[in-house]
């Protein structure tokens, strides 16, 4: 069966682990448990009549305590760049991280996920910024691991991009 390595990248507490749990196990926990290190999960998806195993690398969020080891990205077919829509800075940090990835590994299929869309009243990312990023070529989804909104779509969209490549 076709296997694709997908990395979850982004700052801490943006919801990477929650997105994976929602996608793989259909579970969401309200409590925030910070991730240390890497956790690898698998899920089979069917796209265009074809089964693909997504090997999901949930990599700890970057901050002053933990830096991303680029070696974790080896063999990656695509990545989800996750930002917290209620914390504007996480988007900018995610984009900087994505630049580092591109510098090291070249252009790789990616989807930008603005997570926590259930917290609309705290939303900090201006629509103009979103449009600007979309115009620059980003495939963007507003998702919520809590409600499940667009979670499947995010992974499906990335899987399609990886297949097309």
């Amino acid at each position: 069966m076709l296997q694709k390595k997908v990395c979850m990248l982004g700052s801490f507490s943006v919801g990477k682990t929650s997105l994976v749990r929602r996608f793989v196990e259909s579970i969401f926990s309200e409590a925030y448990h910070t991730s240390i290190g890497v956790k690898v999960d698998k899920k089979v998806v069917r796209l265009d009549g074809q089964d693909i195993t997504l090997v999901l690398w949930d990599i700890h969020g970057e901050d002053i305590f933990q830096k991303l080891q680029i070696s974790y990205l080896r063999g990656m077919s695509g990545y989800l760049l996750v930002a917290d829509g209620t914390r504007r800075q996480t988007l900018e940090d995610a984009l900087a991280l994505s630049n580092r990835v591109t510098e090291t590994m070249g252009k790789i299929p990616a989807v930008l996920v603005l997570n926590k869309n259930d917290l609309v009243d705290q939303w900090e990312i201006e629509p103009q910024r979103e449009s600007q990023l979309a115009e620059s070529g980003w495939s963007i989804f507003r998702s919520s691991a809590r409600t499940g909104e667009h979670v499947e779509d995010v992974f499906a969209s990335l899987a399609l991009s990886m297949l097309k490549k």
């Binding site: 240390i36 290190g37 890497v38 956790k39 690398w57 974790y72 800075q89 103009q128």
Partner: protein
Amino acid sequence: MDRNPIFESFIADQGYALFEYLGNGAFRAIGNSSEWCEKMWGAGKGHEKTLRLADESPFLENFLVDAEGFWNSNRPGGATSGVWIERGPGSSETPLEATALRLEGKPVLVIHNLAGTYAERQKLFQTARDSLLEHERLIREIQKKEILLHCIVHDLSQPLSAMRGCFNILSLEKLSGDVKRMVETGQRESHRQEQMIRGILEAFSGDLAAQQSPAPEAAGGASLAASAQRVVQELSPAFQDKGIRLRLDPALDVSRESNVVGDASRLERIFGNLLENAMRYTPKGSAVTVGIEEEGPFLLAFVDDEGPGLPPDASADRLFALFAKGKDRPGKAGLGLYFCRITVERWGGKIGAETRKSGGSRFWFRLPRATKILPERKPELAAPAEKPRFVAAERRPAAVARLRAGKSPRRLNILLAEDTDVNRELVIELLHKRGHTVVAAENGRQALAALAKERFDVVLMDEQMPEMDGLEATRAIRAQEASSGKHQIIIGLTGNVTHEDNERRIEAGMDGFLAKPFDMHVLFQTVESPPRGIDRAAAAHVVPAQAALAPPAEGVAEHLWRTTAGNEKLIRSLVKSFLADAPKKFSGIRRAVSQKNAEKLASAAHALKGAMGIFGAQKAVAAARNLEAMGRAGNLQDAAAEFRALEEELHHLTRNLLALQAESKRAAKLPAKPHRPAPRSRRKR
């Protein structure tokens, strides 16, 4: 390898599993591996078979590339994988870390089970990250409040500017004794209101400022005795009205050096606040005494009253706390004494209160003597020998306000860029009366066009304007000057006077700024003796004013009559231009809301807010202010609802203005005299 069962048991007990790398992805367990290792990979005790760990774990598969890289190199030490969570049978999760080593010349992979320490490590990370998130949340809260605060400050400054402008214009006229006194009262009270607004905001901003101690502007010091003397002189009439005698302690020698850490304007506000407090609690017929005592390297200032003394349950902490109010005769917002405390503490001093043995209470503050003694400031700043420091108007010596008005000795050509009609007209009127010529622009772009056509001695530049704001226009002017070598004097007009605002002005290239509302004398002094560059240190701690002052309960006609000093021509012109412009401004807001364009919404709402403020339409202004704040914060979630509120209020205002206009046409007079509010004075006629 020789086997050592004790050592192997110890290693296994510590959670380590060792594997020798055989090449091509194959490993062989060394010694007695742990139980977890057996469960996970079947590599248990005495297990001799070859394992393909890369097939078992995607993470190890990835790490094997780095490990082989190390084994094939001559690098000393080892290569470590970092932590990963390995899923085992029954969805168990085990935190592991792998290290590639070279032992006895053989490639060895050591896998360490971190279950014993992982929970503790995660707890530490969790605490640290929770703290970071909380810190981020607080910063965002503060930012949101600051945005709202700035909007409110700006709103409050505009009508106050108009009021002070009207009083200033009136004071230039030949007035009878009674009217002159009334105008002076108006000038004094509007100045007092300005001080109150600033004081309230300063109290809110004080906690932040208190972290910088002592404040830079305080380092030079100020005379405690001179400040006490000035405040006593200023407040004596108010005390007299209440039948209380206000006096300086006879033992106080004002001529004696009494410089302390602090700045004069805030020292005077501390004395003022303590005296206002004393006035509320001192019975008629008694006395309040202000004095100073020496305490080694400190000076202690006191305000003694002959009231009932402090309540038994009153502690200094409570008295000087934020929003602390007396029970029987409460003051205003409960900020006066709080302001005193944070200011005194910021200067390295202490403040307190106690009941005096002889009766009454003593409020005191102790400040360190200033190390650098500056010459005491002159009581009057009549001559332009000393160039004024162009910081907010309230920081200028009070004596400036007593400058004689009249024609300027030199006629200046001034460019005024101001988008708010009423403010523009008032400043023009004042400068005309002073003998200057004024060219007006409504935004930065128009100002640039005017500058391209003729030469100006001074440019007065409002900061927040549509199309091109004052800072942007200033940057454009400075960019043009880079080749010409000329320097145009540019003075900012602003309601925002925080340190950050000031930094922005410096960065843009302004030579100074006038904080709205400003006194006409300060305006004259500024344009006639313009500065070259903003004094960073002096302006560093000026903060904007904010207060939720209750709007006067009056109709639009009464409001206009009051704020324009009954200038019917001006009122007609204001109503006409508003009715012509407001629909365009409103459409701009509608567009910005429907397009979810936060930046445009902030700018359009700001423009309409300024225009509506002239008519005292408080609810409409509040709705526009909220929309402006939403735009600035980039959060438009409630914008549609607020827009509807604005629409309703604007409709109401427009209807009133149309009625006013119709009435004016009928009576050829606007507003009709019967609309004037009845005089509130109880003075006999």
